[in-house]
C-alpha cells in the first residue's frame, strides 16, 4: 500500500473519465509532436539538399517549380534551355561551378538525371560498388534505387518516358548499370545518374519514333517532349533542363540573377528564397494545426480538472476518513497530484508513440509518391519541453480542485451521512 497504488486504483475506478482525459492529451500531444517531427525533418531534408547551391537556372516559369524540380526532383521541370546559354555562364567571373541537369525519363518512378560528375562531387556521393558513369548509356544508381529495384552491376534496363512510372518505355535503347552510390541522405539516393549524352541519345531515338507516330500522340505540355521538338528543329543545338550554379563569392547573388532574368531566355531562381517562401506558405497550415492541437491539450487539462473535481466531491468522505486515520493533508494532496501526473505522463507517452506512428504512415506515403523518406524517430529536444508542459498541465489541473483538501473539515464531513 502506498500513494501510487491508491492513485492508480482511483484512476482505474473511474476508467472512462481517465480514458477521456488521457485520450485528449494523447491527441493534442501527438499532433504537436507530429508537426514538430515533420517540420524538422522536411526542413532538414530541404536544407540539406540546397546546401552549396546558390542559384538554379532553367526555362522561364515558376521559380519555385524550377527549384523543386531541379534540386528536390519532386515537381515537373519548367522546360528546356540551350546548353550553350548555360555554358556561357561559366565565363562569368563570379560563377564557380555550373552543373547542368537533363531529365525527362524514369525507371520505376526513379528519375534518370543526365549530368556531369560535378553533380556527384557536389553531394559528396561515394561509390559503394562499381564505377561512376563515363560512357553514354552507363548509369550509376542511388542507394535507394539500387535497393528497391534490385538491379545489379551489369544489368540493363529500359527507361520509361516522363516522370511517372507509367510512361511509355524506350525499349530500343537500354541503360547499363555500372555502379552504385553509398547512401548520402540527399536527393542522390533516389536518382539514377548518367551523363548528359545518354539523355540526348535516348531522345534522338524517340524523336525518330515521334516523327513516325501521329502528331497528336505527343503531349505538348510534357517538357521532355518539348526537348524532342526542340531537337527536331535544331539538331545540332543541345539542350538541358536546368543547371545548378555555385558562386565564387556572394557578390554573384546581387548581379547575376537579374542579368539572367533580363538578358537571356532563362530564369534564375534562388533556392534559399524559394524554400523560405514555400515554408512560409506551409507555415500557415502548420500554425493552424498547432493552434488546434493546443486547444485539444487545453481541453484535456479541463477534462482532468473536471473529472478530479467531480470525483473529489464524491470522495470527500474518503478523504476525511483517511485524514482521521493519520494521513496528512499534504499526503492526500500529493496523492491527487499523482493522479493528474499519471494521466499527463500516460497521455504524453502515448501521444509521442502516436506521432511516431503518424510519421511512419506519412513517410510511407511520401516514399511512394516522392521517393522521399523520413526516418528520424528519436526524441526531439522540443518534445522534452512538451513533456514539461504536459506535466505542468497535469499538475495544475489536479492541483486546483485538490486544494480543497486543505479546507476539508474532518469532523463535519464524518458526521454527515
Amino acid at each position: 500500500m502506498n500513494l501510487l497504488k491508491i492513485s492508480l486504483a482511483n484512476l482505474k475506478e473511474k476508467k472512462l473519465n481517465s480514458f477521456l482525459s488521457a485520450m485528449l492529451l494523447t491527441l493534442g500531444i501527438g499532433m504537436i509532436s507530429l508537426l514538430l517531427l515533420l517540420n524538422k525533418q522536411l526542413d532538414e531534408q530541404f536544407r540539406r539538399n540546397i546546401r552549396g547551391i546558390d542559384m538554379v537556372v532553367g526555362a522561364k516559369g515558376s521559380p519555385l517549380q524550377l527549384i523543386l524540380s531541379s534540386i528536390y526532383q519532386i515537381d515537373a521541370p519548367t522546360g528546356n534551355v540551350p546548353l550553350s546559354e548555360v555554358n556561357s555562364l561559366k565565363r562569368n567571373p563570379f560563377v564557380k561551378t555550373v552543373i547542368p541537369l537533363s531529365m525527362g525519363d524514369n525507371y520505376h518512378g526513379f528519375r534518370i538525371v543526365g549530368t556531369t560528375p560535378k553533380y556527384v562531387d557536389h553531394f559528396q556521393a561515394k561509390i559503394a560498388e562499381g564505377a561512376l558513369f563515363s560512357q553514354p548509356m552507363d548509369v550509376t544508381l542511388g542507394s535507394k534505387v539500387a535497393k528497391n529495384s534490385g538491379l545489379k552491376i551489369g544489368d540493363t534496363f529500359a527507361s520509361s518516358h516522363g516522370l511517372g512510372s507509367d510512361g511509355e518505355a524506350h525499349n530500343d535503347k537500354k541503360y547499363k548499370v555500372v555502379g552504385m552510390f553509398e547512401p548520402t541522405g540527399s536527393v542522390v539516393d533516389q536518382l539514377v545518374l548518367t551523363n548528359l549524352e545518354s539523355v540526348w541519345e535516348i531522345h534522338e531515338h524517340s524523336e525518330e519514333k515521334a516523327a513516325a507516330a501521329p502528331a497528336d500522340d505527343v503531349k505538348e505540355s510534357d517538357p521532355a517532349h518539348e526537348e524532342d521538338m526542340g531537337e527536331q528543329h535544331h539538331d545540332e543545338e543541345k539542350q538541358v533542363t536546368s543547371a545548378l550554379i555555385q558562386f565564387r563569392n556572394p557578390m554573384g547573388l546581387i548581379t547575376i540573377p537579374r542579368q539572367i532574368n533580363q538578358n537571356t531566355s532563362m530564369q534564375a531562381a534562388l533556392p534559399s528564397i524559394e524554400i523560405n517562401r514555400l515554408f512560409s506558405l506551409l507555415g500557415v497550415g502548420i500554425d493552424t494545426l498547432r493552434a488546434l492541437a493546443l486547444v485539444i491539450i487545453m481541453i484535456a487539462g479541463v477534462s482532468v480538472f473536471i473529472s478530479l473535481y467531480n470525483s473529489l466531491k464524491e470522495r470527500k468522505y474518503e478523504m476525511a476518513l483517511m485524514l482521521s486515520m493519520g494521513a496528512t493533508r499534504t499526503k492526500l494532496f500529493l496523492m491527487l497530484l499523482l493522479e493528474g501526473l499519471i494521466l499527463a505522463v500516460t497521455g504524453y507517452l502515448s501521444g509521442v508513440l502516436l506521432s511516431r506512428f503518424g510519421l511512419f504512415l506519412f513517410s510511407r506515403a511520401a516514399e511512394q509518391d516522392y521517393n522521399y523518406s523520413i526516418r528520424e524517430f528519436s526524441l526531439l529536444p522540443e518534445e522534452i519541453f512538451l513533456l514539461i508542459g504536459a506535466l505542468f498541465l497535469g499538475l495544475l489541473a489536479a492541483a486546483l480542485p485538490s486544494l480543497g483538501i486543505y479546507r476539508l473539515n474532518i469532523s463535519r464531513t464524518l458526521a454527515e451521512e
Binding site: 500500500m1 502506498n2 497504488k5 491508491i6 486504483a9 482511483n10 482505474k12 475506478e13 470522495r315 468522505y317 474518503e318 476518513l321 483517511m322 485524514l323 482521521s324 486515520m325 493519520g326 494521513a327 496528512t328 499526503k331 474532518i410 469532523s411 464524518l414 458526521a415 451521512e417
Partner: protein, 208 residues
Amino acid sequence: MITTKNLQFSYSQQKQFIFPDINCADKEALLILGQSGRGKTTFLHLLALLLKPDSGNIHINSKELSGLSPSERTDIRAKNLGIIYQRAHFVGALSVLDNILLSSYLSGNKQDKEKATYLAEQLGFADHLQKKTTQLSQGEQQRVSIARALMNNPNVILADEPTSSLDDSNCQKVVELLKNQAFSIGASLVVVTHDQRLKDEFPNQVFL
C-alpha cells in the same frame, strides 16, 4: 484507558454541550446512550480528537491531551485510537484487504498482511478480502471496519452507532466481536449509541 473531565463544546452560543465525565479502563467496555441531538457524535469526535473541546481535558493512557498541535493529535489518534463509524466507509477504489492495510499505512505502522488475514478470519470475512467493499453486505462492511480499527492495536476503540444500520442478528454478532476483540488486545471500548438493543450488553453505561 481513556478518561475525560469537564468536557465542554459549543458549535454556537445556542448549541452548547456539557458532557459527563467518563472513565474506561483497559479491557473494559463503556456504553454511552443518548437520543439524537444530545451530542453523541460530537462527544465521540471529542474523544477521537477530531474536535477540540472548549474546556476540560482528555487523558488517553494517563496522558494529558489538551494543548497539542493538530499534527500531534492526528498522530496520537492514528497510533492509539481505533474508530468505527455509524456507517462503514471505505476507500471505494481499494479492495477489502487494502482498506484494512490502509490504516497501518496512514498511521505509519508496518503493513502486516498476515494480521489482516487473521482478523478477517476472526471476524468471518476472510473470503471477501480481494473484493471491493461495495460488494459486501452492511453487516460484513461493519465487520471490516472493526478489523480496520483493530489493525494498529489501539489503546482505545471508539464506536459511533456501530449497530444502528444492522438487523438484530448482525447487531448481536457485531457487539460480541467488538467486545471480544477489544478485550483480547487489552483496549478500552467506548460505544456511543441510541440503540436500545445494546443496553443489556454493557454493564457500564453513561447517559447523555
